[in-house]
Amino acid sequence: MNSKQGEMESPVSSQNWQRNLTAAIAIETWFRRGLALLASIPILITIAIIAIVLIESFLFFQEISLWQFLTDTQWTPSFRSNPQYGILVLASATFMVTAIAAVTAVPLGIMGAVYLAEYATPNIRRFLKPALEAISGIPTVVLGYFTLLVFTPFLKNIIPELETFNALSAGIIVGILITPTIASLSEDALRNVPDEFRDGAYALGFTKSETIIKILIPAAFPGIIASITLAISQALGETMIVAIAAGQNPNLTLNPLVAVETMTTFIIQVSLGTVESGSLLFHTIFTVGAILFLITLALNTFGNWLTRRSEKQIAGLLTPQAELSQQEAPAGTIAEEFEYTQALGERIKNTVVEQERWQQRFRFWRERGFRLLTLLAAFTGIIVLLVLFYDLAQRGLPQLDWQFLTSFASRKAEQSGILAALAGTLWLFLLAAILIVPVGIGAAIYLEEYYPDNWLNRVIEINIANLAAVPSIIYGLLGLQLFVHLLEPITKGNTILAAGLTVAAIALPTVIITSRSALREISESIRQGGAAVGMTKGQMLRYLVIPAALPRLITGVLLALSQAVGETAALLAVGAAASVRFIPELQSKYITLPVQIFHWLQSPSEEVRNNAAAATIVLLVLVLLLNVIAVFLRDFYRRLA
């Protein structure tokens, strides 16, 4: 070392250090209590959802017997005289749509996962995976538009007897929507299969497709089943696609070509009218919601449990087991055994015939065919996206001009615009951001950094994962009861404030989950370094952990906000207006872009529907922008680290 460097006089004298640790600790204690309060919010939301649907269902069954509910074959709760409450009608429609979605999504998802995990080059994968995820990020009202205006007319060419509203086309597009869930989780499961299995199969002369079908998919099977379970729960709760494209016609049928009404559609349909709080109809939508909630909760719990179990199982596959051959050797002499083996060997040698030439060729073609199929499956979603974009450009772009952006909605389609909807969406974005940033990140900090890592914390974590998978329409019901009715003195009923609270509740679990994983990624060594220079826990968080996790925290918030901006079903449930001709205020009626699109789609007029296309372009640009910023931030951070 250069000795000159050491000669500088020490600038420190002891009175230079004045630390008020007592005050700092007092502030931190209060800060910590505040965070604990924030962390209790997701738990309160869970309790509120359960309490509301339980109480309302209880009131419902005071008036309608369970027997009637389960065995009636008609669903006419809005009839004045002799209403019928046969849940079978709605349930059968829901299950039919879900079954069609599953039949579409399971092969597409698994084959797509095979392509991603086994065939795709890293470059293709880098492009394909975000593109697949983009499909699940598209507001479902847009997919509803696509189903009604593009896909159903297309299917009609093939099946002329198809009705305009039908379960088949809605089911197929719901299937496209849930395919990424299956593809992404199944890909994880396939990648988790140890390479030893692949090596073993190739060493026996398996082709790639034989390896995949006979070895890899069976090994990854529990993980694949889990992905299907989670996707099906998503399909059951899907609202906008079915409400727009499957019809609103309660109809006990298994014919997929006609209009039906699912459970989610029923809730939307009732919410669009005015329902008196406390009426039987009001109890009814909550009872239907309760059933939906219970089914999706059960499926999610099962799916998450299966995922965890299969991960453990695969990890344990390579652990050698103790040999079990400590038993008695079978009776018989060694000579007998030897003779038998000899004879067996002769027989086998004589049966092995050389493989015919055509068999080899068949194997070769099957190989190529399989590869092509997986490729097609992986790109189906992207093809759908491209068709959607093309159609939007055809219909919507001509309508899209400055006047469209700056005018209020009008009866005259050519003068109509989206100003009120844009303002409403902006309001919603701001409200959701103001609510979820402190609550989501605060709760994540408390649960990850302060709350002990015990069984209760794990229960809370599972609970939040379940909350993230609850269909948004259930949050709509929560918002309707809690924010619109119970908190009316504050929110003034179905106002933008109530809507903001509702979408914040929807986005909150996602923010907590992504924030927790962002905090978890900050290494222990940095925290220890902070402690070693005399930082308190709070200073460690403030100066080291949160700044380092910030880009990923922001990414999580932006993705959640793009989800909030595209939310439709819950807003219809909490009473977004059908038409607003002023800039909304905090406690006024409001409309947002997706709600505007939904209402315009209800119109039979071609021009109004073209306006819906133009509004959809604006909505997609907004959502895309949020996603691009989020991805950009994440990559920027990766390069830095």
Partner: protein
């Protein structure tokens, strides 16, 4: 275990009295009595898992951060028991700095890596001056003075480790703890750090855990040898503590002799 009776009381900066460390119920190191003198460099050596690092982390109470850790006995720093309820470990850590096995600069600028420690400890003097002084002390100033605002992660491993040392000495601690400070570094960086440790002795007391016996003999005034007693024993004990040349040339115990002459594999 011998005490250093010929030294007067005020020269002892750190004293361990029957210190044991438990993780959950498992004992990591047991019954340690040790006295460390001001301005000395003490090397802690011994096979892996015998509790050297566990003991080291008692001196700045970093063990407090690990759930389920229990420390018995007492440790006094300048005559004050650091495990006394009135002592806040956060304040203790200003007096006892620490450098870790892997360089762990904060993901911040080079300047902020040092300044943030000054800030949390309420330094009222001229921060720029103290940052420069600390960087000069570790011989890093000339290398980084033109890029103080650059992220510290852009430095090489050896530079990062010297930055971590600068970060520790900027707080003017009494003692600096080092937990295998060179194990993640190349030989040239290692030599620079070893040289630096000897320079720092003028101002600080240093306690260095190392697996490198040559390093231990090169830098230490005194060496403490830790080992398991017996085959079944899980916890480490202090076998021998004496001047460096005695430990390496004529130790009193067979176990020490075997270890320092390499007759036993010093794991890793």
């Amino acid at each position: 275990m011998q005490t250093l009776s010929r030294q007067t009381q005020q020269d002892i900066i750190l004293q361990c009295n029957d210190v044991s460390v438990y993780y959950d119920r498992q004992c990591a190191v047991k019954g340690i009595n040790l006295e460390i003198l001001r301005h000395e460099i003490v090397g802690l050596i011994g096979p892996s898992g015998c509790g050297k690092s566990s003991l080291l982390r008692c001196f700045n109470r970093l063990n407090d951060l690990v759930k389920g850790t229990k420390v018995t006995g007492w440790i006094s720093l300048n005559g004050q028991n650091i495990y006394d309820p009135s002592v806040n470990p956060v304040e203790l850590r200003k007096q006892v700095g620490m450098v870790f096995q892997r360089p762990n600069p904060f993901p911040k600028s080079i300047y902020d890596n040092i300044a943030v420690g000054l800030k949390v400890n309420g330094y009222r003097g001229d921060k720029d001056e103290l940052v420069e002084y600390s960087l000069r002390q570790v011989g890093l100033w000339e290398e980084v003075k033109n890029r103080l605002k650059k992220n510290a992660l852009t430095l090489s491993g050896g530079q990062q480790q010297r930055l971590c040392i600068a970060r520790a000495i900027a707080l003017q601690p009494d003692i600096i703890l080092m937990d295998e400070p060179c194990s993640a570094l190349d030989p040239i960086s290692t030599a620079r750090i070893e040289e630096l440790i000897r320079e720092l002795q003028k101002d600080y007391t240093l306690i260095v855990v190392t697996h490198n016996l040559k390093q231990a003999s090169l830098i230490s005034d005194r060496v403490a040898f830790f080992d398991f007693q017996g085959e079944q024993e899980e916890a480490g004990h202090l076998i021998e503590y004496d001047r460096s040349e005695i430990i390496f040339q004529r130790p009193s115990y067979r176990a020490t002799q075997d270890y320092v002459t390499g007759r036993r594999m010093p794991l890793r």
